[in-house]
Subunit: 312 residues, 2 copies
Amino acid sequence: MINFNDLISGIKSQKKLEIAKAITLIENGTKEGIDFLSKIYPFTGNAHRIGITGPPGAGKSSLTDCLIELYTSQGKSVAIIGIDPSSPFTNGAFLGDRVRMMKHYDKPNVFIRSMATRGSLGGLAKKSKEVADIFDASGFDLIIFETVGVGQIELDVMNASDSTIVILVPESGDDIQMMKSGLMEIADLFIINKSDREGTNRLFTSLSQVLTLQNRPSDWIPSIIKTSATKNIGIKELQNQINKHYIYMKKNGLLLKKQNYRYSHLTQQLISEKHKTEFWDNKKNKVLESQLSQSVSTRKSPYQLSEELYRK
Amino acid sequence: MINFNDLISGIKSQKKLEIAKAITLIENGTKEGIDFLSKIYPFTGNAHRIGITGPPGAGKSSLTDCLIELYTSQGKSVAIIGIDPSSPFTNGAFLGDRVRMMKHYDKPNVFIRSMATRGSLGGLAKKSKEVADIFDASGFDLIIFETVGVGQIELDVMNASDSTIVILVPESGDDIQMMKSGLMEIADLFIINKSDREGTNRLFTSLSQVLTLQNRPSDWIPSIIKTSATKNIGIKELQNQINKHYIYMKKNGLLLKKQNYRYSHLTQQLISEKHKTEFWDNKKNKVLESQLSQSVSTRKSPYQLSEELYRK
């Protein structure tokens, strides 16, 4: 039996060992983990949750590295959740990118956690939002979700974050895929990284034009920040814009709206899961199995079967 | 009131007007549409459902065009469901790609339908699987889902299809994003289109190597077919491989397994939707609202609230 009070006071003092323990507790997926999440919920909502996404090779890890450097130099604490698509083809590739962050591992006010998605198509790693709650309750000022941008994943990032940052590179200007992949619509801030390379101004101009044409859900128009992570250029400006967006969201009630959305969504999801677990007992599974054993032309339609099972 | 028997006999004779009527009925999302789907379900399961996906510009529409040409010349009927990410940035762009397919519109044994996803992040267009059921019941030999490959979308395509075809171009060899985006794992067949361009053999070799290293769920090893859609090269070979995969799936019970997976999945999904609709009545929504009106630090955790609401 874990003593929740000890664990909570441990994470509240940002003790790394206790935070790691809490994460393991959550990842085990037991009822105890759920109870723990329930206990710490009132202490959340104070961290600024940032999602950083973009195509492979855009420099997400390098920029995250720069942000850690800057924030910690100001006495702020930063937690990073690196989301790595785990596939037979990418195994380890992403984790390797994080090596350069290693130098921060020992800092008392930095916590870095890599999490793998089940299959590269799984969106945000299961439990990453719960881990963010632990960091939030631990009093971290900034929580960064860092994830490669491929399709559905970004939507998850956006929903889990207060501010979503999309990183592009000068070459992205020619890359029609960027436009189509949905990255454009989710960004609160754009970064053009590697901005010492050719094409930066062209991308800046076309991006600006697109942003003015776009119908956005709020009157926030995303800034476009030119950076070079390797040369540590533009990072202070990036921080200013991150803060600006946070203040904007707070003032306009958008931060609360996001928090409420996450609250409602999670509540609905938990209830649906409870129902699914309880509903599909042995008896109902057998009814389904008996239909599956028949040919498509003789079995009940899924519409009929679901109605009958549900009304029973 | 629609006369179901007339409509069903109409679509069974592949009458385009009736098929279009049936699609509209489904898209309206009424109870009548559900009843209709339930009625036609026994007549499904006979079409070969193919998903074609790949990065923008790989030539999906051109290849689909070639396949239509080939199959119809053999007296086979083909239905195409083109999935278009709809976003402020791409509006119309994809539909434009389909213009070249227009010449098939008048053929009696071809039906082409474009469907837009709600936002580019929505995966398969809502109702596209139901529309495929209509085509299936109409006796089409081949149903092609054609969709741009970005993230989550492919997983949807794979689940909706019996055979998934991933189209690459010679330049994809250098494109690490391909590998990371999950396209690699879902393919039953690979096409290297525009194979008269440089890099074809290099991509062929590296792809072959990757495929032999990969752990796949079945002992089917995807073929790699070199094509040039604009020059109509490799299309017959592609058709042979499509048939080979279909026969393999039938022999090994994998086709039935896929059909059963879709049946179970849809049944579960329909039941969850029924529960969600019924569960969230005015009273429960008010309980949720009253929690949202409190600050994060004083409201019940989502875990506690969901438990209380569910047990009530």
